[in-house]
């Protein structure tokens, strides 16, 4: 170099790197950025009106090879009948599934629908196909698209109009979000999982605390997590208001991806690894906000209210609205306890439950089913318990390990893959007033059926509740063995 020292480029976060690599046209004061989408995942519920829009305008799907579809929300979790038909909840659900089949065929989109051996909950299915890769932009008409950020992708949910935009142009109009770093130090204790961690994070930042932000989860406790656990963590970013959550890719990520159907092979794999290793946030990069949390101090979490930030350690008491000084916060808490039928100050341990659900895009992966089975093994459930694998591949892997036997011998039901009782669209639901400990992501009023009451928890805690017939601390059961 002849003159002076060249300044190194400013350090960047992983989000900034992925964003910058996908800007087709930069944003201005007048127009948002045109952002390129690498992978568009599609399911039957949020896509029909978008395909109709394309038909109406005489448009085609611009990049069918970047579009991948499955079915999960309206699909039954009971097996096909002997006559070959599926037990749909109603004719409308079946019509929606048939429309997805027609749309995929008409527009040349790869579909793994009902009866396909790769079908599954879209956010379980995408990663296990190897379709989700580090550094990609991934979208889907589904708020839990944040899940895919576990691979160091920028992944977020979009509405149906935007599904149409991506189908037609492979792009979206986006303003650049702000960044929020959530640093997790220490290490999760036995019996405490990624689900407990994310519930604790949301309890800290609030149900709208991440609005306008992309979260990056970092720190030693995050590095120590498996891919399944990282997906659980990123999945619920939206429950704190953040559209996306990201974890920088590392060897854990690469090992998980290697050999999957859509993962690069041979020389392309080596080239991809080089690119992927450059993605993690640079030393000295700045975030708009930072929060830190000590994983070592966490206990299993359970929610008592009607939004996911209303969570407490399983051995704590339900908060008392009288202790809230802010009148709006008090009203919110009072309304939640009224709906849930819980008393201020009561221990959540021992609260009677009527049903347990293990599954969903949050906790329907093999590791989650193993966790639940570890508690169910040799025990009997006291309440109706549904165990719903996240995909056909998860179901096969679980059955190969005999987890289906463990589940059924405990008296729980072993179902076909789908969203099931997380969103209760397919007939898997609660009756009014029933309590359900659920490994899903939302405890909103009526989420699991009108009048149903949802307590969010980890697979271990859910299984412990199933065998106790009440909210129970899974750590006590782990100690038995």
């Amino acid at each position: 170099m002849s003159g002076g020292v060249r300044e190194s480029p400013a350090p960047r976060t992983i989000f900034e790197k992925v964003w910058a690599a996908h800007v087709v046209r930069p944003e201005t004061a007048d127009t948002p950025a045109v952002l390129y989408v690498d992978l568009h995942l599609v399911h039957e519920v949020t896509s029909p009106q978008a395909f109709a829009e394309l038909r109406g305008r005489g448009l085609r799907v611009r990049r069918p090879e970047r579009t991948l579809a499955t079915m999960d929300h309206s699909t039954p979790t009971l097996p096909r009948r002997p006559d070959g038909t599926w037990p749909f909840v109603d004719a409308q659900a079946e019509a929606q599934v048939r429309q997805m089949e027609r749309n995929a065929a008409d527009f040349g989109v790869e579909l793994h629908g009902l009866g396909d051996d790769a079908q599954g909950v879209v956010h379980v299915f995408g990663p296990e196909r190897g379709a989700t890769q580090p550094g990609m932009t991934v979208v889907c008409g589904d708020s839990h698209t944040a899940t895919h950020g576990a691979f160091g992708a920028l992944a977020f949910g979009i509405g149906t109009s935007e599904v149409g935009h991506v189908l037609a142009t492979q792009c979206l109009l986006q303003r650049r979000p702000r960044t929020l770093a959530v640093r997790v130090d220490g290490r999760l204790a036995p019996g405490v999982s990624a689900k407990d961690l994310i519930l604790a994070i949301i309890a800290r930042i609030g149900v709208g605390g991440g609005t306008g932000h992309v979260v990056e989860y970092l720190g030693p406790a995050v590095r120590a997590l498996s891919m399944e656990a990282r997906m659980t963590l990123c999945n619920m970013s939206i429950e704190g208001g953040a559209r996306a959550g990201m974890v920088a890719p590392d060897d854990t990520t690469f090992q998980w991806l290697a050999g999957r159907p859509r993962a690069p092979k041979g020389a392309a794999w080596d080239a991809a690894l080089d690119r992927w290793r450059s993605l993690p946030t640079d030393e000295g990069a700045r975030y708009d906000r930072e929060v830190s949390i000590d994983a070592s101090a966490l206990a299993p979490m359970v929610t008592f209210g009607t939004n996911p930030s209303q969570g407490i350690p399983v051995d704590a008491r339900v908060p008392d609205p009288a202790a809230e000084r802010d009148p709006q916060a008090r009203a919110t808490l009072e309304a939640a306890l009224r709906y849930m039928g819980l008393a201020p100050g009561q221990p959540i341990l021992g609260q009677r439950v009527d049903a347990v659900f293990v599954g969903s895009c949050t906790n329907g992966r093999l590791e989650d089913l193993r966790a639940a089975a570890s508690v169910l093994r040799g025990r009997k459930v006291k309440v109706r318990t549904l165990v719903v694998p996240g995909s056909q591949a998860v179901k096969r892997a679980a059955e190969a390990e005999g987890l289906d036997r463990v589940v059924m011998e405990s008296g729980a039901e072993w179902r076909e893959p789908g969203c099931s009782m997380c969103i209760a669209m397919n007939g898997d639901d609660l009756r009014p007033g029933q309590y359900c400990v659920s490994t899903s992501n939302r405890n909103f009023e009526g989420r699991q059926g009108p009048g149903g009451r949802t307590l969010l928890a980890s697979p271990l805690t859910a299984a412990a509740a199933a065998v106790a017939g009440a909210v129970a601390d899974p750590r006590a059961l782990l100690g038995d063995r």
Binding site: V34, Y36, R57, T160, H165, I238, A331, R442
Partner: protein, 191 residues
């Protein structure tokens, strides 16, 4: 889409925080493959009892709510899912604007594409509206202001491009389609 410039209406006030999209339209109504006719499912579990009878105490069932185009709701309105059925249901019911102190990201994006104006106000301006249900307000999208019942005016932010689209009845897909040349060049540059 119809161009929107001025919205003048009485308000309906729903003072709850964190009204999620499952309340705006429960998931069992998402099995449709249409956009139309979702107004009847709006706030279904709050509006109707288990037998489908209107609950008289719910604000949308009161006679004075008839014809109101502005919904005033507590902080973090529209949190939860990405279902565009939520703004479809609100618009089908007759709402043209939602006013809150914070509106969830995906819901806000979806609203902008359906002629539902998201108006985010400072707490003090919001409090004036929340305290005066049924009063008339005037939203001027061009000026980005809302005239409050006490005679004062508050301003609200809105993305310049979204505002342009709303005021001219233009949809974003048309703009994206006009970017084809840039999109193709971007794809070529990545090999």
């Amino acid at each position: 889409m119809e161009p929107i410039r001025i919205i003048e209406s009485r308000t309906v006030v729903l003072p709850r925080e964190n009204v999620d999209t499952d309340q705006i339209i429960p998931a069992r109504f998402l099995k449709t493959t249409e956009k139309q006719g979702l107004g009847k499912a709006l706030f279904s579990d709050w509006r109707y009892d288990g037998e489908g009878r209107p609950r008289p105490d719910f604000v949308l069932n009161r006679p004075e709510a008839e014809g109101c185009a502005v919904l005033v709701a507590g902080d973090n309105f529209g949190c939860g899912s990405s279902r565009e059925h939520a703004p479809w249901a609100l618009v089908d019911h007759g709402f043209r604007a939602v006013v809150s102190t914070r509106i969830a990201d995906i819901f806000r994006n979806n609203s902008l594409k359906n002629g539902l104006v998201p108006v985010v106000l400072e707490a003090a301006a919001y409090a004036k509206l929340a305290a005066a249900p049924g009063e008339k307000v005037r939203i001027d999208l061009g000026a980005q202001t809302i005239a409050l019942p006490d005679g004062s005016t508050a301003s609200f932010p809105i993305d310049a491009f979204a505002k342009y689209c709303l005021m001219n009845g233009v949809d974003e897909l048309g703009f994206l389609l006009s970017q084809e040349e840039h999109i193709a060049a971007f794809e070529r540059s990545r090999g």
